[in-house]
Subunit: 342 residues, 4 copies
Amino acid sequence: MAIAGASGYAGGELLRLLLAHPELGVGTVTAHSKAGDRLTTHHPQLIELADRTLEPTTAETLAGHDVVILALPHGASAEIAAQLPDDVLVLDCGADHRLTDAAAWQRFYGTEHAGSWPYGLPELVHHDGAKQRAALPGARRIAVPGCNVTAVTLALAPGLAAGVVAPDDIVAVLACGPSGAGKSLKPHLLASEILGAATPYAVGGVHRHIPEIQQNLQLAGGAPVSLSFTPTLVPMSRGILATVTAKLTGDAGSVRAAWAGAYADEPFVHLLPEGQWPTTAAVLGANTAHVQVTVDEAAGRVVAVAAIDNLTKGTAGAAVQSANLALGLPETLGLPTTGVAP
Amino acid sequence: MAIAGASGYAGGELLRLLLAHPELGVGTVTAHSKAGDRLTTHHPQLIELADRTLEPTTAETLAGHDVVILALPHGASAEIAAQLPDDVLVLDCGADHRLTDAAAWQRFYGTEHAGSWPYGLPELVHHDGAKQRAALPGARRIAVPGCNVTAVTLALAPGLAAGVVAPDDIVAVLACGPSGAGKSLKPHLLASEILGAATPYAVGGVHRHIPEIQQNLQLAGGAPVSLSFTPTLVPMSRGILATVTAKLTGDAGSVRAAWAGAYADEPFVHLLPEGQWPTTAAVLGANTAHVQVTVDEAAGRVVAVAAIDNLTKGTAGAAVQSANLALGLPETLGLPTTGVAP
Amino acid sequence: MAIAGASGYAGGELLRLLLAHPELGVGTVTAHSKAGDRLTTHHPQLIELADRTLEPTTAETLAGHDVVILALPHGASAEIAAQLPDDVLVLDCGADHRLTDAAAWQRFYGTEHAGSWPYGLPELVHHDGAKQRAALPGARRIAVPGCNVTAVTLALAPGLAAGVVAPDDIVAVLACGPSGAGKSLKPHLLASEILGAATPYAVGGVHRHIPEIQQNLQLAGGAPVSLSFTPTLVPMSRGILATVTAKLTGDAGSVRAAWAGAYADEPFVHLLPEGQWPTTAAVLGANTAHVQVTVDEAAGRVVAVAAIDNLTKGTAGAAVQSANLALGLPETLGLPTTGVAP
Amino acid sequence: MAIAGASGYAGGELLRLLLAHPELGVGTVTAHSKAGDRLTTHHPQLIELADRTLEPTTAETLAGHDVVILALPHGASAEIAAQLPDDVLVLDCGADHRLTDAAAWQRFYGTEHAGSWPYGLPELVHHDGAKQRAALPGARRIAVPGCNVTAVTLALAPGLAAGVVAPDDIVAVLACGPSGAGKSLKPHLLASEILGAATPYAVGGVHRHIPEIQQNLQLAGGAPVSLSFTPTLVPMSRGILATVTAKLTGDAGSVRAAWAGAYADEPFVHLLPEGQWPTTAAVLGANTAHVQVTVDEAAGRVVAVAAIDNLTKGTAGAAVQSANLALGLPETLGLPTTGVAP
């Protein structure tokens, strides 16, 4: 398997997972400005790959692999994907192929839409009770979901699918570690700025993950959703805690059953025992989502919370999980499920 | 000035502020189980008070001071306050005297209500345009607000007072440092549990700060409010970031003016320039609240965010600010306004 | 395999590793004051063991397992170990059986010495060039090293074994995450105390890990060592960074070769490429030690640095590695080698 | 007072302190690439200076002030200082004018030496018992010490001055917050890299602070010193904890008296009570150093530890303290002494 964009955080996490995967080996690793560097200069944790060097990201260097994962900035992945053969499994960790609505893409990204690919969130429950998983076996192009999107979707989709919450006034507030923003050299991502600080960003309906969340939740609930979405940066390297509330429309007594039913057989998504709330520490490094839900009857709202590791279940683990499905391997193959806590 | 409960975090912060206050000196410092200990055993930062020893918390040890601040667990403060003379200024940093509604107290605390005192949040704007400040000059009993309450109230009250947001479906999610929970020896407050973790608690309408927030926001909006309130612990020692959303009812164009008007002349509460969002780091150790607001028209919601230091503007600074007002001193006397950032 | 003391951090980490181990399954899990609790109440990351309950720690509950790992306070492990059959493999993660010198035990622990067991640090190079690994195949009692001890030993032992540094004036200063101190409810382990703080403890020759380090380094160098040892707590959950300096006695040009030779074939201990210094993040959750060394000719000292995860290579991973060796399994079986970074 | 380099962390801290200073007001604030920006874009904590704009750093913009503080990269400060009138008090927070030995400058910086200025560490005790303080009244050029240098010097100088420790084999290991490295956009300073990580840098005698520490300790001990110096980055925004050991040469019983005597009358440097060890949290935001010392008789070494805030006592507070002395103001005027803990 080749990794394009291997010098970044998603690339490093993909390689960590692949080193432990019994079927998918590590092939070519590429980068843009870091091409020519030794891989472990950027990822000292990948000590087993100490002899690897980053090659340039081109169709040529990526050729000859059955599976290629793109961990590139949006825009770049569409361009390179177009040059890869149709029978190669290509998974795009970037945003280019997630949205089905070209107008939404245009509105939030301002560029031409590259088209949509089968969407790699197997546990997404549809309005008809099916799971998104069904779209993945045999697929050769897969769009890996955004990390914030995964957290919000997994938190709320069961309630919408079961009709116990309303789609028209959803509020999501997230606590996010900075690794989700990648290795960009921006002042607000410096350790001195983030240590001791909680800070919101992209407030007021402008975050690019919004249309993707709406797309997922509409699949779940069968109706358009309105969503207030506020991410906040907090001082932990990894992790997303999504607190999502929606108006209770059904019977309070049937709320828990909606979530329990949706996730009963899922290997990676767990509804915690009543009274136990998710914590990001418990899913660190694992392809696992912890979910909890309760009803605040006085406020008339259901509160659903999900915790994931943005780099594992939020990105690299999701890619491997979808690759397993596409290739006909066991879905859980090679994926860690226990978080590194404390 | 005497401090009861001086071994805790609120007590330590009160002493830090009083050491820099030109009019209010440090008198007796008391504690419960730590009585007899040297003060700096618990507060190494208070090096100037290295010769002080903690006395037991009794009416006798607190006697002879014009001002007494109680930083005690709820329940304890009402009992000791009842034994102090009427002409002594008593400020209670605990919850006992904040709520005016005895039934709400009973419902959330399960004990008999101790009665309500003038409420020490000077910047709280009332429905008639007055500020809570007016209740404080000359007062001899003052209830200091809860830290989460201060953050949520300052974030949203101007919109309710101006009628641009609806009171009936407010959603608040907070990122909070663990010092707000005090020095209790509880497993979930251990560093190993909190480092690298974001974790919600008291989810679903059960947090004891809810009726106090509702009381404040009803004063602001003139109508009962419904509130979904979720605090989350994040890995920073101090700080609260409150993200509060409410349905837009007025003209989107008049939203900013509501907040700007409410806080234009406030020395400690600042509406940031457009586009700049609050961060807890910028108010660390300061008696300052930073506030920002925007309209998400697609979601039909106003998003208001406030950042405070839970121990300063959230507790000890608020107490000193109210003491200044009660005693006829300049409101800002001795209070830091610049955060210790980065 | 049974785990005694499974409610603590070492116990949780052992279970995380065993869940991924192809040969060693999870049997009985026991605890002292937490017996009767659901395991996941204390370890939410162990979601796959959600149906397990903690049993009391007794010889009876631990009976019937081929392998028992003790993750108990010192003193407790000797007592329970004495009740287990001789043909059961018992690994003690506590201190009771590490020291060969009963007088040193008495001096640092103040109780009677329980005797010494084969010592589970396979990579420890002896003065004669052998490795400690040789003592472990077939062993049925193994003392797992202390976490700080492992870091300091791995950092410096090659230099002593090669005779390029002097044993008589070693200085070690460590940055340690608080999880090494366990889940004890002590004020200095609260998150509010540790966030934003670096703090030394057990300074001046009183730390109980000192005689164990001296024992190891004497094995390496063949002569008694004198050691100044200062650990400091820093705000990260896991990880130990040991900075160890010793006087250069050999040729500066032969220093690197001493370390390179000692660790050339080690699967878990790596001398990093020249110029790259260890970071604890790169070994998080891995049974891996990263080591680097350089010569400061002006100061006349060699500076050697090692980074480990105190719970993995420092405790639970070391126990599994030694168990593999004792049982005749491949040494690396089931052990993660890639750190969860960033 | 003018601040050159006001967009950086040292500049922001200087402004925080000046806002609370009764005699030294805030005049022109300048920057290099950030000139033209609003000051609070870079320092949201300086809300009281919300109307200020950064001007370019030139002799012209800095003209007309009695006091100018330079918080510039090394090299830049010498150039601008040369253009300022002799009767203006200029304090340089950079390295250009600290070293008296031009050859040492050349060796560590590789450029021509700009000459040395009176050195602004008032508490530095000289071999003859005098303090460095004596050099500052009336001075019009002052070199502000480096932050790591201040920590190591204050930790060990009393022992050298008293002759109870040897100068020839000093070992210093520091835990440092990343704000000491400034706002440079370097990958290793990103939050994702520093959260959860302890990492050494500039190991093996190459750190530029070494000759400055040697210069100070030679002033204290009267003889050249050899020094092994290793700083490590740890995940706290501010703070330096320096653990410094030196060989005991005098009577162990007289060690504490050496430190007690040196700092007995110092307003900003405190020897803690026996058994209490410094923590960086206790000096956060304060112009205070906490020091402790003990003898490890088995190792034959004295262990001295100092904690400071790198931006306050380590930089900006030191500058204000020296300015007070130079201008004939009380040395402690306007400087905070209580740390913001927890």
